[in-house]
Assembly symmetry: C2
Homo-oligomer: 772 residues x 2
Amino acid sequence: MHGIGEGVPRKDAWEKVTGQAEYVSDLALPGMLSARIVRSPYAHAWIRGIKTDAARSVAGVVAVVTADDLVGIDPFYGAAFKDQPILAMGRVRYEGEPVVAVVASDEWAAEAGAQAVEVDYEPLPAVLSLDAALAPGAVLVHEEQLRPAGHFHDLSDLAGRQGNIVHDFHFRRGQEPDAIFARPGVTVFEDTVTYPMVHHAALEPYACLADWQGGELTVHTSTQTPFTVRQELAEIFSLALSRVRVVVPYVGGAFGGKCYTKIEPLAVALSRHCGAPVQLCLSSAEAFRTARKPSARVRVRTGVRSDGTIVARHVEVHYVLGAYADVGPRVTQKAGYVALGPYRVPNARIDAYGVYTNTVPAVAFRGYGVPQLVLGYELQTERMADALGLDPQELRRRNLLRPGERYSPDDAPVDANLKQDLEQAAGADWAAVLDEPHTGRGIAISLKSTGAPFVSHAVVRLRADGSATLLASTVEIGQGARTVLPQIVSTALDIPVDQVRMLEPDTAVTPYDQATSSSRSTTLSGLACQRAANDVKEQLREIAGRAWGIDPTQVTVAAGGLAHGERTMTYAEAVRAKFGMNGGEIVGKGSYVGEVGDMPLKGITPFWETGAASVAVRVDPETGEVTVLKARSVADVGKAIHPDLVRGQDEGGLVMGFGHALYEEMAYADGQLVNGNLIDYRVPGFGDVPDSLETVIVENQDGPGPMGAKGVGEGSTTVAAAAIAAAVYRATGVVLGDLPLTPEKIWRAMLGVKARETLREAVQEEVGRIGS
Amino acid sequence: MHGIGEGVPRKDAWEKVTGQAEYVSDLALPGMLSARIVRSPYAHAWIRGIKTDAARSVAGVVAVVTADDLVGIDPFYGAAFKDQPILAMGRVRYEGEPVVAVVASDEWAAEAGAQAVEVDYEPLPAVLSLDAALAPGAVLVHEEQLRPAGHFHDLSDLAGRQGNIVHDFHFRRGQEPDAIFARPGVTVFEDTVTYPMVHHAALEPYACLADWQGGELTVHTSTQTPFTVRQELAEIFSLALSRVRVVVPYVGGAFGGKCYTKIEPLAVALSRHCGAPVQLCLSSAEAFRTARKPSARVRVRTGVRSDGTIVARHVEVHYVLGAYADVGPRVTQKAGYVALGPYRVPNARIDAYGVYTNTVPAVAFRGYGVPQLVLGYELQTERMADALGLDPQELRRRNLLRPGERYSPDDAPVDANLKQDLEQAAGADWAAVLDEPHTGRGIAISLKSTGAPFVSHAVVRLRADGSATLLASTVEIGQGARTVLPQIVSTALDIPVDQVRMLEPDTAVTPYDQATSSSRSTTLSGLACQRAANDVKEQLREIAGRAWGIDPTQVTVAAGGLAHGERTMTYAEAVRAKFGMNGGEIVGKGSYVGEVGDMPLKGITPFWETGAASVAVRVDPETGEVTVLKARSVADVGKAIHPDLVRGQDEGGLVMGFGHALYEEMAYADGQLVNGNLIDYRVPGFGDVPDSLETVIVENQDGPGPMGAKGVGEGSTTVAAAAIAAAVYRATGVVLGDLPLTPEKIWRAMLGVKARETLREAVQEEVGRIGS
């Protein structure tokens, strides 16, 4: 009836497969106009002039808007710092930055108008790499004073900022690692890996439909954070929050790329300027020029004793954040915090930096900065085990945090059994695959904290016929929220799941929810939903208790009805009893406010998300091409409310990580993104999925969510690339941490190994000859 | 800041005057189709056959739908009895009844298709008048067993039904009036009046946009009762309530005509049939064939003592309900109940009947059956006063119920000062008008109960910046609900009214509200809104109390903030304190459940609405044409939250009643409605408004609503026609209660008076001659 642990059909499946599901680009409003954007062809340039006359004379063009037209508003936005202009103001900072917007009666006219705009640029030197950005005397991407956005209070300290470093985060525990490294009996390993710029590649690019009407604003947009978008639009346009309505229909994939404000301020500014609804739908190529994952360089230095015990670790990570900060400083801080991995590290130092460059802004991305780190520390784990003559799993087991142990003293205890996760990932039955030549298996394990504070509210409305409506602001981004959250409510109320209807998020009507992100919805929004349903149940008990003249606590709730001894009452009868009519409803409220007991939780992770995966690859010795033969991932979810959806999330996250490991990289040449489209940019296809792809679900009911649930969807992404790199190392002997592991890179590295072997053999032969 | 007693700009004014306000006919959905209806040209006929081939071949036509196509659903609807087919099934019962619907790509193609449908009818004898319907052996409009709709439990007793009488209501108090009438010293007066069939003539006719998607249904419709429409659609189409979403944008006038289900079942059936959204927008001419006010014949017999004290009254009223019952049985019952008027009547009998005829179905209409009765008893009051040689006001004063006195022992005490209302209506300063020849002044006073039980819920959401959103399901039908309810919330929270945004009703998201009708919204929905705001305040007090370590009751709330001694906290700071972030919200709930104390109120009027008006007319002695010279109406509202809106409601209601008194009547000839359009049917225009039109607002804070408010908007309509008829009597000496008082009727009646006077003069002259 509720499908807990079994699954029910996805609520959105029918609509999606029949093409009836509505996305922002399907919407239309009377008198709606369309907009197209003129973007910068330079990575860094002054804007010397803009000629708009020709564009204005194109048939159907209503307005040609530049930054000069954005009057009476705050023209900057940004999740961490308000550093990003709605339209470029005098200067462009990356290739693809919006400079001019053309609004017209339809998108073809807008495109024709955009083609007719002439912008006069004076190119400037650009910083395009991490090294260039950090070099002494480097060109500064931003020279102005940064203005904190207010969304994250803990990022407003700008003390550490210098040069192109926009934010830095530091963590220390125990003694300085360098001191420990120098001690006798400690072997030190140092590895540096790089994780490439990659794009989210959601099937639906960014789309927004803004309707500015006399000081009231309605925005239909494809976002994971409707309330944050509302907040920022209210600030930009000086509106009360209650006058800004953000509605989110189906979202065609997000992966973190639709967190925080993106194209909404521009769409709203255009609607305000034109006095009509304006729809702004980007192409995939434009999405590539809107957001990407933070690329990173990670340097891990670890001191171990000969038995494999980690005694000290220093991690230095630079996240390359591109031209505007977006939420990159938060990624720097949150991911930096867990850079030590799932291990017990008594003496530690972490230095994390977020760095501006003249590239596409980096934003949140599934895994939130952690996959970059796991690549560093887990590739090193494999290398350390070999050097120490230990089994890599044994080395991991010796150092893994135990259930209930704390990553840091002020944080919540680890609510997962990492050894169990590791054993499940490693498992048996790999021999058949690994018997083949040129094969190898890699394993990786990770720990990721969940963002906090994290507020969610929910309302459950029990209708007069006993069916229910769930109001919660979790966005259906393809993860199945509109299926799972109704399951939780239907279980709490004990009514069939198809009697619970969940609505689309609409900040005006559905209750506050901080974000659909951080694998939090089932667990934390789910708690709010469960509590709202329980509130309804308590009210029903009171109605029956009053009707029967007994204490409400004596009333039992089961099978969609109320009972006490022989007496029973359906929910519908209870509603009728309360209101004396065939109408009315019972409204239940529930909240999760990040609380421990009665007080809000400050900066403590509400739950820990783990990743553990094992992959086997074959590397073609002639070409260096990698084929993934078999993969097993562990989804340690506490309780799988909908196992098929858990598997879908876990498998998707794993294969996405394979893409980063093997194929994907946003390629720049002279500051131009040269493969920023879905033809030249290669994401994994079904042909890249291994024949054997398995998710093992671990259910220890150890999460804080409904029925002991924890989040899922990012864990496998955090370990995918690290496991691939480890497998390539096992198959070839090559330690390669510079993703993506293209055939060429592997082939060249193997050639190097081969050359060294040939040289060693030659030397030994020569030494032998001399000795003889 | 809140504009209480002063007024604030209407929330909807700007949108409406600039044409940006959206009504159902302005909406569009992707793939939307349009529908037109083929209607019966006969008042009563068998349908012998329907040819649809030609219609199907019209370009753009998608479907031609008859009753035979409505499979798998319950094809009947109706507020009191499910007697009305979605499309005629074998038989039509009034001219204009829907028989076939044509769905096409646009409304012109649909109209062309509708023109091409051929229906073969066999005409039947029809009952077109009350007398014909009540005659022995009359043709029966309905022969089938009536099926109660379940919406009104107290109407399901069908015992009284016989012939064409669909429902009867009886009320008795004290002794049988006939016995009292026979006593010495009692003078008996008998009057019979008739109130015509009139149409609501809302500027917006009926419109509905239905979107059936895989068992989930969204309906945008112009209704006063979204939750009742939802209930009935759920029943017809066998859907859980939570799967039916009824959304109501602006409504362009309603006047009761948009209560309960109207064209929605047909629009939904067409969407379901075609698998696409279908918009059905009626023309004004079709609106005339959809609903009207119950016409009535009222017979009032009253026994009075010589000092004017009423000792007994018998009222017999027949409401002519047309071809389908709609809510007519409820009107029969609720209006019948108050047929004794605002007077103390120790011995009383009321017999009220609702009668089927082959005419347009009669539905709720501003005043809900009461204006028909007031015409009867107040015209009689004037006549009685003259016959007894008393001042009519003195006669009224002797019999009016006092504040706190009960209309009937089981009902709530009268919460109005009727004598004060009467004095205010009569007032002074009429001499100048009445000094002219052929003028007269008429006064009328009334009492109307409010429907019960009446449930309303509201939710107030305080945003993180201290602004608020109000979720309530009161429909903005032009009465100003979206202005007044935010005023109530802004007052309770003590924040500026422009910081409170109220949303459109949407059964999926805004909380249950029984109806926007019966002048109830400010008073009863207003209570729910006020309570929701107070709930927010209590939560704010708790936050501040915890932060300051004091009892929450010690925290004062004022000027949008919290205070204790020197310490203060804005609402925004309180939200931040609760959630530890720049987000979250405080959700407050409020309900009005018709309660007295803790128990639901059953059938007791929550408040009494009074009407009192005085009008002066001039009657042209040559033509009988009436000109209204001056009018004064009393709005006894307890507290005028927005005086301009009170005046607008009161003046509009009065002038609407003038139309019924003087101009309006749906004219039938041979069963055909011959003036069913806004050209031939005459509603009052601005030229008909008297030069002096005044509303006196009486504020005794004696209502149950916020700040002592009571409802407004129907009182003046209940007395308008009676006051006009009384004024015509005063101006001409003619007692005419057969509305409308057309020049021809008055002229003929005056001619009769003149003839009688001439005859009397002649007789007196002759007698004198004989005597001399």
